[in-house]
Amino acid sequence: MINLTIDNKPVSVEPGATILEAAKACGVKIPYLCHYSKLKKPHGGCRICMVEVEGNPRLLAACTNPVAEGMKVITGSEKVHKARKFVLELLLSDHDARCITCEKDGDCKLQKLAYEYGVEEPRFTGARRNYGVRRDNPFLETDHDKCILCGRCVRVCEEIPAVAAIDFIKRGFATKVSPAYDKALNCVFCGECMYACPTGAINSKIGRYQGRTRDLKAVESVCPFCGCGCNYSLLVKNGRVVKVQPKKNSPVNDGSLCVKGSFGYDFIHHKDRLTTPLIKENGQFRPASWDEALGLVAEKFKVIQAKTGADSIGGFASARCTNEENYLFQKLMRAAVGTNNVDHCARLCHASTVAGLADSFGSGAMTNSIAEIANAKTILVTGSNTPETHPIIALQVFKAVRENGAKLIIADPRQLRFSPYAQVQMRHKPGTDIALFNGLMHVIIKEGLEDKDFIAQRTEGYEELKKVVERYTPEYVENITGVPQEQIIAAARLYATNKPASILYSMGITQHVTGTNGVKTIANLAMLTGNLGRESSGVNPLRGQNNVQGACDVGALPNVYPGYQKVADVAIRAKFEAAWGVKLPANNGLTITEMVKAAGNSLKALYVMGENPMLSDPDLTEVKKHLESLDFLVVQDIFMTETAELAHVVLPVASFAEKDGTFTNTERRVQLLHKAVDSPGEARTDWQILCDLSTRLGYNMSYDHPSQIMDEIASVTPIYGGISFERISKLGLQWPCPDKNHPGTKFLHKDKFSRGLGKFFPIEFQSPPEWPDAEYPLILTTGRVLFHFHTGSMSRRSKGLEEVCPKPYVEINPVDAVKLGISDGEMVKVGSRRGEIQLAAAVNDRCTPGVIFIPFHFKEAAANVLTIAALDPVAKIPEFKVCAARVEKA
C-alpha cells in the first residue's frame, strides 16, 4: 500500500491508484469533467481536477497521476482554485451558455462547477466555435456548441459497445466530436454517449423538451424488450414516461442500455393503445364495458367447457407479462377452466433448452450469470447474434475479449459484429450444429483433452457418447457442415484447454426439429471438458423475451406446474390440488404449436394473453386458417395485433410501465418493476383481468397487490421459495432461492447437477426436414435485428426504431445476387413451398452463398409465411432456421 496525505488527511491506497482515487478513498472532493468512472482509462483532458503536489511547481491532473509514497497533495489552495476557475473560464468562452432551453439545465456538470467557482462573464469575448446542432439521425441530437470536448462520449463508444462511431475530428481549437469525415452518425444508437455527456451536448431526440431531470419522477423498472432484463428508471412527467435512465452499478447492465431500451419506450403512449374492451359483431369491433366483455368470455368458456370438455379450451400465456400474471394465467387455465392446455412463446424459442437441459443437467436455464461472462477465458458463441439480440450481454463478451484477453469462438452461419474479434469463426451450414459439435468432441477425445475427473465424478453415459462421436472425424464433419477441418480442430483445442470456457447460444441451436438434441449436444460438449459448475464457464442459453424465463418458471407450460414440477407426478399434483383447493387435470396439455394445429378441430376456444401467433408462428397461412375456424378467440393485448384482429373479444391491458410485478431475466434474476404511469382509457392490468375472469368462471381469485401473488408463488415453487417483493426491492435475486435467508444462486450445478449426475446423450446428426433442391435452391433462415423486437407490436410503434429500420429485407450473398441478377435494394420475391412474400434485397456477405436471411418482425412481408411447421418431437419447437426457398426478381 502507498501512504500519502491529501489536504493533510492520511490515506493508504493500492500502488498504481491515481490521486483522484485516493481522494475518493479519504472523502476529499476533487471536481472533474472528462473523468468517467465507467471507463478503464483516464483522459486527462479537461484539467479541472488539477491539484498541487508538494515539491512540484506544476499542477498535476488528479485523474491521470499515480500516487507516490509520502506524497503531499493539496487540493484547496488558492493556486489550485485559480487554475480551475481559469479552465472553467476557458471552457465557457466557447460554450453556448443558453441554459434556458438546455436539456441539462440543473443537471449539468459544467453549470454546477461554474456556479461553485463563481465564474462570471468570461474575459474571452468574440466569436466562438460555431458548429451548430446536428439532428441527422433518428435518436440523437448533437449540440456541438454545448460540447466541452471532454471526450467521454468518444471513449465510452470505443470502450463499452466497441463501436467507435465518433472521434475527435480536426484539431486544436477547431476540434469537434463527430463520425469520420463529419458524416451523419450511423451506429448502434445505444445512447451510451448521451448518458456519459456531462453537459447538454448530446440529447435524446425522443425526449427533448419533454422535461428536465429536476421535473421528472424516476420510477425503477425493468426494460420490457429482451431477456437481458436491464434495470432502468422510467422518468415521468405529467403522467407520461418521457425519458429513461439506466441504473448505474446494476449487475445486469451497469448503466448501459441498447437502442431499444434507450429510445424504444415511446410505444407506451402510442395513439394505437387499446383503451376499451372490444367485442366483434358482424365482422366489426365495437366498444364494450368490462362487465359485458368478461361476461361474454366467461359465458363462452363455460358453454364450450360443458359441450366439448375443458381440453377444448386452450390458453397462451405471455413472455411479455409478469411472473404474477403468468402464474395466475396458468392457475386460471388449470384450476378454473380445468385444462393443462397452457403454453407460451417459449415454445417457439427455448422449449428445446428447457427440455434438453432438464434431461442433461436437471434444470433448463443459464447456468451462469451475465457478469461472469467478462471473466471467461474462452467464449463459444453459437446460434446467437448476440450483439443485435442481446446487446447488453454482448458488452460482456467485448469486455472479455478486448480487455481481459479472452478468446472468442463463433459457430454461426452469419457474420456477427463479434466476427472481427473471433479467434476461430466457423460458418457452418444452417441445421448442421450437431455434426459440428460432435466433430469438436471427436477432436477433444482423440487428443485426450477431455476432463477425465469431471467425467468420472460428475457424469454418466460417457462411453455411449464416445462411441457415437467416434465417426465424426474432422473430415466427415467438414463434408456435412462446410467448415474447414483446421477450424474444427482449432476450436476444439481452444475450448477444451483455455478454461474457464463459457458457451452462449440461442435460437440458432434451438429452433430446429433437432433442437432438443442440439441443446443436449452443447451440454455434452461442456460436460466433456468440465466447463460446468464453475464461475465464468457453463452453458448459457440467452433467453429472448423480457420474461420468457419467468413464464416458464411459474408454470406457463403444458406439462409442468410452477417450478418445473411435473403434472404427471401424482404427489406434485396432489400438492397443487391442496394449495389451490380444486381437482386438477392429470393429462399433460397441448403445446402452442399443437394448439394451433388443433384449433378448429378438437380445440374450440383460445385465450391469448399478450402473444401474437399470427406473426410469430411458422407457416402463417395455415395458422390463420386454424385461428379463423375457432368458435371463440379472446386476445388480451396493449395493441390491436394481427392475432387480435381475428378475435371475438379483445381486452385492453396495461403495459409494463403501468403496473407492479416481477420479470425474471435470462440469468434467472427475479427483478421488480413499479407502476410509473396510469393505463390509457379503461385498460386494466392482466392480473386484475385474470382475477375477474376466474371469479366469473366460478373459481375465486382475489389479490390486493401482485406482491401477494408472488408470496403464493413462493409458497408452491421451491426455486422461488425465498423470493418476495420486499427482498428484491433493491436488487433482484437469482433462483434457485429456496428460502428467505438464501442469497440466491449465481451459477448452477456447483458440486452436483440438479439431477444428480450430468447425463451424456449420444446424438447423431440428422438432416433438416427440408433441404434445398432444384426448385427451391436456397436455405432460408430467420431471426431478429437490433432495431426491432419480435412481432414488432412495440418496436414498430416506436418512432425512432421504425425510422431507422422501416422496411423488411432479405439478406443475400453477392455470389447468389449476381447469379440471380439482383442488385442491392431491389424488390424481390422470396418463395417457399408454403407461400411467397415481396421485399427488398440487402446484398451483403453476412450470409454465406446459398443461404438467405429474413428478419421476422415485418407483417408486410412476414418471414413466417415461408417457414415450415415441422416440429421437434420432444419440445414441439418449429424449424424456423432452415427451410428451402427461392428468390426471384419481383
Binding site: G44, A61, P66, F86, V87, K170, G172
Partner: protein, 431 residues
C-alpha cells in the same frame, strides 16, 4: 573559425548518402565492434558514461533511457528514430537524414543491440521527402549488404528498419503522439506514466531517440567515452548542431562543442546581423523557447546555462531577430503556429493557444481596448504552463510570455497609441 565537425564530418564528402560513401568514411565499424566484441550492457554503460543527452529538445540522458528500456523484461522491444523535426527554425536533422542516412541507421542498430530490440522505425515528417527517399534507399542498401536484417556481421543479432512518413502534425514530434501516429491513430500525446521505455509502441518497451542523438552513438562506441567527453562541458558533453536562422548574414547548420556562446555562434559563425543592424531578440531553442536579448549574448549554449538564463537549449534552433522586428508581430507569428498545431486534447492548450493568438492579433491590429488584454495573455500563458497536458501546451506560451516581459512597452504603444514603434511588417524567419 572552423567548426568542430563530428556529426557533420561526412557531410559534403563524395556520395556521403550511399553505403559506399559511408563505408569509406568508416561507417558500420561501430556496429561491427558492438555485435562482435561488446555486450549490450557495455554499450548501455558507455552511453550512460558519455553523458549524452537527448538532442530533440528535452535533453533526457540517453543512457538512462536505454537502461530503463533494456531492463524491462517485456518483448518485443522497439527502437524509434524521431525524425519528425518540426520545431520551427530547426533543420539539423534534415541534413543528417538527407546526406548521412547510414549514420542514423547505424545509431539505431546500436540502440537495438543495446536494448534488445530487433525492429526499428524511423518516423520522418511528411515534408522531408528527400530525407525519406534517402533513408529508404539506405535501408535497402544496408539490407542488401547485411548491415541490417538477419544475422548482422554473422552474429545472432537481427535488426530491421522501416521508414514511416508522418502527415504534417507538429505534435507528432512529441514521442507519445508519435507512437499513436505510428500505430495508425491520430497523433495526440499519451498520459505519462507509463513512459515509452516501458509501454511504448503497441504497449511494448520502446526507445524513442532523436536523429542527432542517434548519430552520436557510433562515435561513442567507436572512439570511446573519454574521447567523446573531450567535447563540450562536464554537464553537457559532446558537440551540438545549431540551426542558425533569421536576420543573420550566414544562416545554416553549425556544429560546435556544447558550451560555445550565443555571441560566438551569431557573430563569428553566422557573420553577425544583416546590414549591420543591432540584434533585438533571439530564441535560442526553437519557437518553444523563451527569447533572450542582447544582454544574454554571452550565455553558453548548453542545457544548464540556457536554463539558468531563463530559456532552454531545446532543439538548438537559434532564431535571430534584428532591431526592425515588431515584437508584437513576432509573438503573434509564433502564437499562430501553436494555435494551428495544438491537438485539442486539453482545455488549456486548445483554448489557450487560440486566445493568445486572437488577443495578439487584436494588439497587432490596434484593436485591443486596454492594456488589460496584455495581462490576459500573461494569465493565459501562466495557466498553460501550470496545467497543460503535454509539452506542446506548456511550451507554447513561452515566446509570447518572454517577448511581453522584455518588450512590454512595444505592446503598450500598440494598445495606447494605436501604432507600431517599429513600423515594419514583421516576419519571424523560418516559420
Amino acid at each position: 573559425m572552423p567548426q568542430t565537425r563530428v556529426l557533420l564530418k561526412n557531410i559534403g564528402t563524395p556520395d556521403s548518402e550511399t553505403l559506399d560513401g559511408y563505408l569509406k568514411n568508416g561507417g558500420y565499424q561501430a556496429l561491427k565492434k558492438a555485435v562482435s566484441d561488446l555486450t549490450p550492457e557495455e554499450i548501455v554503460d558507455s552511453v550512460k558514461r558519455s553523458g549524452l543527452r537527448g538532442r530533440g529538445g528535452a535533453g533526457f540522458p540517453a543512457g538512462m533511457k536505454w537502461q530503463f528500456c533494456a531492463s524491462d523484461q517485456a518483448c518485443p522491444k522497439y527502437v524509434i528514430c524521431n525524425a519528425d523535426e518540426g520545431e520551427p527554425g530547426t533543420f539539423k536533422d534534415r541534413i543528417l537524414l538527407e546526406e548521412d542516412p547510414h549514420a542514423v541507421l547505424e545509431g539505431m542498430a546500436l540502440a537495438g543491440y543495446a536494448i534488445g530490440a530487433n525492429q526499428g522505425y524511423v518516423y520522418i515528417r511528411g515534408e522531408y521527402y528527400k530525407g525519406a527517399l534517402s533513408l529508404e534507399k539506405a535501408v535497402t542498401e544496408a539490407n542488401q549488404h547485411h548491415y541490417l536484417g538477419q544475422k548482422i556481421y554473422g552474429t545472432d543479432f537481427d535488426f530491421n528498419i522501416q521508414v514511416f512518413r508522418g502527415a504534417g502534425a507538429y505534435i507528432c514530434g512529441e514521442e507519445t503522439a508519435l507512437l499513436d501516429s505510428l500505430e495508425g491513430k491520430a497523433g495526440r500525446s499519451r498520459i505519462k506514466p507509463p513512459y515509452p521505455v516501458n509501454q511504448g509502441l503497441w504497449g511494448k518497451p520502446t526507445c524513442v531517440n532523436n536523429v542527432e542523438t542517434l548519430t552520436n552513438i557510433p562515435w561513442v562506441v567507436n572512439k570511446g567515452v573519454d574521447w567523446y567527453r573531450k567535447f563540450g562541458t562536464e554537464e553537457s558533453p559532446g558537440t551540438k548542431i545549431y540551426s542558425l536562422s533569421g536576420h543573420v548574414n550566414h544562416p545554416g547548420n553549425y556544429e560546435l562543442p556544447m558550451g560555445a556562446t550565443l555571441r560566438e555562434l551569431i557573430y563569428e559563425y553566422g557573420g553577425g546581423i544583416r546590414q549591420g543592424r543591432r540584434l533585438k531578440a533571439v530564441m535560442p531553442g526553437g519557437a518553444s523557447s523563451a527569447c533572450l536579448t542582447e544582454k544574454s549574448l554571452d550565455v553558453k549554449m548548453d542545457f544548464h546555462s540556457l536554463a539558468a538564463a531563463g530559456s532552454m537549449l531545446g532543439s538548438g534552433a537559434v532564431i535571430v531577430m534584428d532591431e526592425n522586428t515588431c515584437m508584437v508581430g513576432a509573438a503573434h507569428n509564433v502564437a499562430a503556429f501553436f494555435e494551428h498545431e495544438s491537438c485539442g486534447r486539453c482545455t488549456p492548450c486548445r483554448e489557450g493557444t487560440h486566445w493568445i493568438k486572437r488577443i495578439l492579433e487584436r494588439v497587432k491590429n490596434f484593436e485591443a481596448k486596454s492594456v488589460a488584454e496584455i495581462d490576459l495573455i500573461a494569465d493565459l500563458g501562466q495557466n498553460m504552463r501550470l496545467g497543460a497536458f503535454c509539452p506542446l501546451g506548456m511550451g507554447a506560451p513561452s515566446a509570447a510570455l518572454s517577448i511581453i516581459q522584455h518588450f512590454r512597452d512595444e505592446f503598450e504603444t500598440h494598445v495606447k497609441e494605436k501604432r507600431c514603434p517599429v513600423n515594419i511588417p514583421a516576419v519571424v524567419p523560418g516559420l
